[in-house]
């Protein structure tokens, strides 16, 4: 029987002890004697969130297929256990073996959102690994960062030994081989890092240095070691049918956020919304073969026993074989009482038909993401969804029996004026009006239109990376304008408006486009007690403000100025395939309110066509 790292006294007094015991169905145990590399894969948030992440399941499966490698999982202990571990000096451990993380060869951290940065420090700290890469000895695991936030790794540069830029399926094998060779040859930690830096896609922050101009912007950013490349190239899987996929995903004992089989149908998005980082990072759009997907779906349902399957992609409606796949799933699942969930579907006749087959119309709500209220604003962000699309889709849905609609918007977008803000309420009201056009005897009581807005945060590698943000007070004022506009609407009793917290927005903005100097503030915030910043009950804005103050990091410098056309960005040394010229061109078109066609309509020359794959070669071979 496995021995647990925590004793019964502790496990019985904390919340949800099952977060820490491992041993779940399909988790992988290996014989320590047959292993020469131990890899701890971390999602720096609580178990239920981390276990819901597809990327980790893919990498966990990939590593554990490798001979000699044992990949285990580790998540952030919740605040209750965090306190106990600190008090009793219990080192953080991996779920499978329950061995201390400190004894591993690698600690890989997937960095999915900015608000988990202090949790990364928590994981290092509880593991007994020095927070600063520069202070780590030969006995420490190599700390690797990956995931979307690794595309601007600079705020975290001091805490990681290396970053993996790109899709995980590509160069890990090479990295592990270099590690083994270095160990065989008696090389040091630094020798390994220098060798690793030569692998395409690997960025070793300690081998680069930045200088700054008087105005605070970057003057230069260069490698400090010969043989280390000045540009780090994103790694991308070009043949999606040849990559591995977890046929036996882990089945948690406790209910997690994503308690279902997740089928990734494609990577990337053809749409080119100008605020969307994922839409640029994962270009070109690459579909998985529909026959392979059917097989994966069958295997994963068999091996997990899950009662639900969900499709995953940035825009499922753009998957060319969607109809075939969905019909297959309906046939396969309905008799077995398995639910199908279809997120990110465009609302049209086909999707409404499918949804009416797979869910209870009366209970479910429809979701539209117009992102902006006015057509002018939607053109600026290149969201190719018109008012007519929304009203037609909503109309069809209402006729089909739905009466709940959710609308998602962003506030604080570039060029936004008061009319654009008010247009959010007007659009919501038009949707409600469309509902009340249906004769009373044919509709299902009142409708419920819920509009939510978040504040726009410019992200690296998007056309809006030059855009300015606003102060906390300004965000609140904008939300108030929308709130008032809702009160003026005819159907205000059927409308609801919620907005996202402004303080978190400000912080996320600094972390998203920050440089190395921002790292000092993150460290200070952590030392003053910040963790689980993504959880509103734990988020302490005052502490963060103090940390910025103390470390001399000026929020306004990062958030409240439009960046110049020639400014060197902290992330410019990374080549994601999409060129800065293309992004700049898109920024300029945005300023003129010009839309850009999607990848299937017309190639706009973003730069990734050089890889000759995915949507770039569709219909061309």
């Amino acid at each position: 029987m496995r021995k647990l790292a925590l004793d019964d006294e502790i496990l019985l007094k904390i919340e949800k002890p099952a977060r820490y015991i491992g041993g779940e169905v399909n988790s992988v145990m290996k014989d320590r004697d047959e292993i020469d590399i131990r890899f701890a894969m971390c999602f720096p948030d609580v178990y239920e969130i981390g276990m819901s992440h597809l990327g980790i399941q893919i990498l966990y499966d990939m590593f554990n297929r490798m001979e000699g490698v044992w990949c285990e999982r580790v998540y952030s202990p919740w605040t209750d256990l965090d306190a106990v571990m600190r008090e009793e000096h219990i080192p953080l451990f991996a779920l499978e073996s329950q061995d201390p993380i400190k004894d591993f060869d690698f600690l890989g951290v997937t960095i999915q959102y900015e608000m988990c940065y202090t949790n990364i420090l928590q994981v290092l700290d509880l593991s007994g690994i020095p927070l600063l890469s520069s202070e780590r000895g030969e006995d420490c695991p190599i700390v690797i960062g990956g995931g979307p936030c690794a595309y601007n790794p600079e705020p975290l540069a001091d805490f990681f030994d290396l970053f993996y830029i790109g899709e995980g399926e590509t160069v890990y094998r090479e990295l592990l081989d270099v590690y083994r060779r270095n160990r065989r040859e008696g090389g040091t930690r630094r020798d390994f890092l220098v060798r690793a830096a030569r692998i395409e896609g690997i960025y070793v922050p300690s081998l680069y240095s930045a200088t700054y101009k008087e105005d605070g912007t970057i003057a230069s950013f260069e490698p400090t070691e010969p043989g280390v490349p000045a540009v780090v190239r994103k790694q991308v899987v070009m043949d999606m049918s040849k990559t591995t996929y977890p046929e036996r995903p882990i089945v948690p004992f406790i209910k997690v956020t994503q308690d279902r089989v997740v089928l990734e149908i494609q990577r990337g998005c053809i749409r080119g919304c100008r605020f969307c980082q994922a839409g640029m990072l994962y270009r070109p759009t690459r579909e998985r073969d529909v026959e392979t997907l059917k097989e994966y779906a069958r295997l994963m349902l068999e091996n997990t026993g899950h009662e639900e399957i969900s499709l995953s992609s940035l825009s499922s409606s753009d998957y060319s074989q969607l109809e075939e796949l969905v019909n297959f799933l309906i046939d396969e699942c309905s008799a077995k009482g398995i639910n199908i969930s279809l997120p990110s579907l465009r609302i049209d006749a086909f999707s409404l038909d499918v949804m009416s087959k797979v869910q209870d119309v009366k209970k479910s709500s429809l979701t539209f993401a117009p992102e902006a209220g006015s057509q002018r604003m939607r053109d600026v962000i290149n969201k190719g969804l018109t008012e007519e699309d929304i009203l037609t889709g909503a109309g069809q849905a209402f006729e089909g029996g739905w009466n709940k609609v959710k609308l998602y918007f962003m506030l604080g977008l570039p060029t936004e004026e008061k009319e654009d803000m008010e247009a959010i309420a007007v659009l919501a009201d038009k949707v409600a009006r469309r509902y009340y056009e249906i004769p009373k005897d044919r509709r299902n009581g009142k409708c419920q239109i819920t509009a939510s807005s978040s504040f726009f945060i410019p992200k690296p590698f998007t056309p809006f990376q030059w855009a300015r943000m606003y102060s906390n007070e300004e965000y609140i004022a904008r939300a108030a304008i929308v709130k008032h506009a809702f009160q003026d609407q005819l159907n205000r009793k059927s409308l609801k408006y919620n907005w996202h917290d402004a303080e978190v927005t400000v912080l996320e903005g600094v972390l998203a486009r920050g440089d190395r100097r921002v790292g000092h503030a993150i460290l200070e915030a952590y030392r003053s007690g910040c963790i689980y910043d993504a959880w509103s009950e734990n988020f302490d804005y005052e502490k963060w403000l103090e940390a910025f103050e103390k470390t001399g990091v000026d929020i306004a410098f990062y958030n409240e100025r439009e960046r110049g056309a020639d400014e060197i960005f902290p992330w410019d040394f990374i080549d994601i395939g999409v060129t800065k010229q293309f992004l700049r061109r898109e920024w300029e078109r945005a300023m003129k309110g010009e839309v850009t066609p999607n990848c299937r309509q017309q190639c706009s020359g973003c730069g990734v066509a050089k890889w000759k794959g995915g949507v770039c070669i569709e219909g061309k071979n």
Partner: protein, 229 residues
């Protein structure tokens, strides 16, 4: 047809709560391809009911659930199929057909439960148990404060202790269980420690078996069913 499944819950699975055990078995039924019946309606769910939830931290050799099948499957094959998809900490012991009669299934028939109590982490008993158990049981009544969701009330638990004895493996308890009178072993031990003037140390509770009442006394829930061939 109705089937009763007996299973063991041990090792690390003592940290999995009752609702999660249900979720665990719903998924296990699918993995093992057991022809289980579903309720009707828009969101059908498996017809599955558990006897007597086991609290977090307890282990058990005698857990039960009743399910309904759409077609018959031999007991030995079902046990094998289920155990092939179990994780360490869960083991299916038997799979038996029970009467279709409503009164014979589910929580309602549970009348008693056997437990084994040990000092946590030792597999042994505390010295005073052996010396004082007899006197403790000789009391005409054992009054304890029982907390409910709304209030606290005093009750006599002595009549609900059917049997108690110190054995080689620990303190054996046979207690009233089920929806009518239910006595948790934890409450018994609290009362025993209080009465003996000892301060409570961490204990481990292991459930051995669940019983239904018949005219001739108790029978295990398992014995109420018969093997499917």
């Amino acid at each position: 047809m109705k089937v009763r499944i007996k299973f063991r819950k041990y090792g690390i699975l003592r940290f999995i709560g009752h609702l999660d055990v249900m979720r665990y078995f719903q998924k296990a039924m699918r993995r093992a391809c057991i022809p289980i019946a579903f309720t009707g309606g828009y969101s059908p769910h498996m017809i599955m009911s558990f006897a007597q939830p086991l609290g977090i931290g307890l282990t058990s050799d005698g857990e039960y659930m009743d399910i309904e099948l759409t077609e018959s499957i031999p007991s030995d094959r079902a046990v094998e199929a289920l155990n092939a998809v179990m994780t360490e900490g869960m083991e299916v012991v038997s799979f038996r057909q029970i009467s279709d009669d409503k009164k014979s299934s589910g929580m309602t028939i549970v009348a008693a439960a056997d437990y084994l109590v040990t000092v946590r982490g030792t597999d042994t008993v505390a010295a005073f148990w052996r010396e004082k158990l007899e006197d403790f049981l000789a009391q005409p009544s054992v009054l304890v404060m029982k907390k409910t969701k709304r209030s606290e009330k005093e009750m006599d638990i002595r009549p609900l202790i059917y049997q108690a004895a110190v054995t080689e493996n620990g303190l054996f308890l046979k207690l009233a269980a089920g929806s009518a009178d239910n006595l948790k072993p934890d409450l018994v031990m609290d009362a025993f420690y209080d009465w003996a003037g000892m301060s409570r140390e961490p204990l481990h509770f292991h459930r051995l078996e669940l019983f239904a009442r018949t005219e001739d006394g108790f029978i295990t829930l398992e014995d109420a069913g018969h093997a499917i061939r």
